[in-house]
């Protein structure tokens, strides 16, 4: 567990898997002796929010604390968007480039190369569609919900919509993007002929496994932190409407 008084250097040193989080918070290394809270303040990041994210990232069984209501959904959504950008602009191209280099120098048959190439292209397409759906429909809905909740007289049209839609529906249909990547790793380990360049092959498998872990955490964060909080807001707004 990371806490606010902890030295940020120690927090990271003991939990290197936190590193990918820093660009998403636009935080830079070189922490000196500053605590987690002090580093957050320097970068204008809400400390409670950072702690929730970091701890959820470290422990899959982590249950969000009561500090949840301390930050706005807007904060969380901009973090989610930064993460999406990281996947699309950094993580996916990085592993794709390595896979294509691996295939170029391999003795795989045309059929095998085609299988991996088509698979990855389709995967990228599904990935983009998934993120687009979230960014164009789900996230704007959440922001609107937060805005309406803060109003003294919420828009009746919005609250009417709320009676028929809940964020829980999104959660039910929330596909896991990491599953296909795990299949790809297994394909390389189990079914494809061995690659000559073992180092590169290992890097591909490492990248895939990092990405799987990151995507799992990301989905958990959406399902365990974002969705319950949004559902709570939905409920509060509906209760206000029910009250005379």
């Amino acid at each position: 567990m990371i806490s606010r008084e902890m030295s940020m250097c120690v927090a990271v040193f003991e939990n290197m898997q936190l590193l990918p989080l820093f660009p998403r918070f636009k935080m830079k290394l070189g922490f000196g002796e500053r605590s987690v809270e002090e580093v957050c303040k320097t970068h204008e990041v809400n400390t409670d929010f950072f702690l929730e994210i970091a701890n959820a990232y470290l422990d899959e069984a982590y249950i969000p604390g009561d500090g949840l209501s301390l930050f706005s959904l807007g904060t969380m959504i901009s973090y989610l968007k930064e993460t999406h950008t990281y996947y699309v602009e950094t993580a996916l191209p990085m592993v794709e480039e390595k896979i294509s280099r691996l295939l170029d120098h391999s003795s795989l048959s045309k059929k095998e190369i085609n299988l991996v190439t088509v698979f990855f292209n389709d995967y990228r397409q599904e990935f983009l569609t998934h993120i687009q759906e979230e960014e164009q429909h789900i996230l704007p809905y959440i922001l609107e919900l937060e805005k309406q909740s803060a109003l003294e007289r919420p828009d009746p049209e919005f609250t009417l919509k709320l009676q028929n839609y809940s964020i829980r529906e999104f959660e039910q249909g929330h596909d896991r993007l990491e599953t296909s990547l795990e299949h790809l790793s297994r394909l390389i380990i189990k079914n494809l002929p061995p690659f000559k360049d073992f180092q590169l092959c290992q890097q591909v498998l490492d990248d895939l496994s990092d990405l799987v872990k990151d995507l799992t955490d990301h989905a958990n964060m959406e399902d365990k932190i974002l969705v319950p909080r949004v559902a709570e807001l939905e409920e509060q707004l509906l209760n206000r409407m029910d009250a005379p």
């Binding site: 069984a61 249950i63 059929k111 095998e112 085609n114 299988l115 190439t117 088509v118 698979f119 292209n121 389709d122 995967y123 397409q125 599904e126 809940s166 829980r168 039910q172 596909d175 896991r176 599953t179 296909s180 299949h183 790809l184 297994r186 394909l187 189990k190 079914n191 494809l192 399902d223 365990k224 319950p228 559902a231 409920e235 509906l238 209760n239």
Partner: protein, 197 residues
């Protein structure tokens, strides 16, 4: 992968949080909501379906209306007792003195018993028929061709395809093909996959 949703209605903060910590370590469990009072729980229950419920005795006594409006829920409910129980009014109960393994076992049994009947938590294991269809998709057959081979309507094949996709979380033909290879449903040599445009 699909999850079993759990609602917790327990008035003791410590017991509730302790149980959440235990439950969230069980594969396939997802905590949907927690409630500390019968009022808030009932308000929620008035609007939502409930897969599984863990509730303590006093909140249970105050929430009988919920079980009337949710037929079948009683069988998917675990009653949390402070004392070991002898009476059989609720089949599933755990009590505070029980060990982690005992509680985990009871939760798992309950999930296994009901999980296939709940739409939101379909099992991710493919049936033999579905495996056959995954194989034929990987061989490059269209839904129409699969329907002809298996003497099914195209509509039935489409339904199977939808179920397969939601069980596996895979939509594309290439994704299903790789799934089929790593699960020994087909060999790479047999696969027929069109190159991307």
């Amino acid at each position: 992968m699909r999850f079993s949703g759990f609602i917790l209605a327990i008035d003791s903060y410590l017991v509730r949080k302790g149980l959440i910590s235990l439950l969230s370590r069980i594969q396939g469990v997802r905590i949907i909501r927690e409630f500390a009072t019968a009022d808030t729980f009932q308000q929620y229950a008035n609007r939502q379906d409930i897969d599984f419920l863990v509730i303590n005795q006093s909140l249970f006594d105050q929430s009988s209306a919920v079980f009337v409006s949710h037929p079948g829920l009683l069988e998917r409910t675990i009653l949390l007792k402070e004392e070991p129980v002898t009476q059989m009014e609720v089949h599933n109960s755990i009590h505070l003195s029980e060990e982690k393994e005992v509680i985990t076992g009871k939760i798992r049994r309950l999930m296994d018993l009901h999980v296939s009947s709940l739409s939101s938590s379909a099992s991710s294991e493919l049936t033999q028929r579905e495996k056959t269809i995954v194989r034929q998709v990987s061989l490059g057959l269209t839904n129409k061709q699969i329907a002809e081979e298996l003497f099914l309507s195209t509509h039935t094949v489409t339904t199977h395809r939808k179920n397969i996709s939601s069980k596996l979380g895979i939509k594309s033909v290439s994704g299903l093909t790789v799934y089929a290879i790593v699960n020994n449903i087909i060999t790479i040599e047999e696969v027929s996959l069109k190159p991307s445009e």
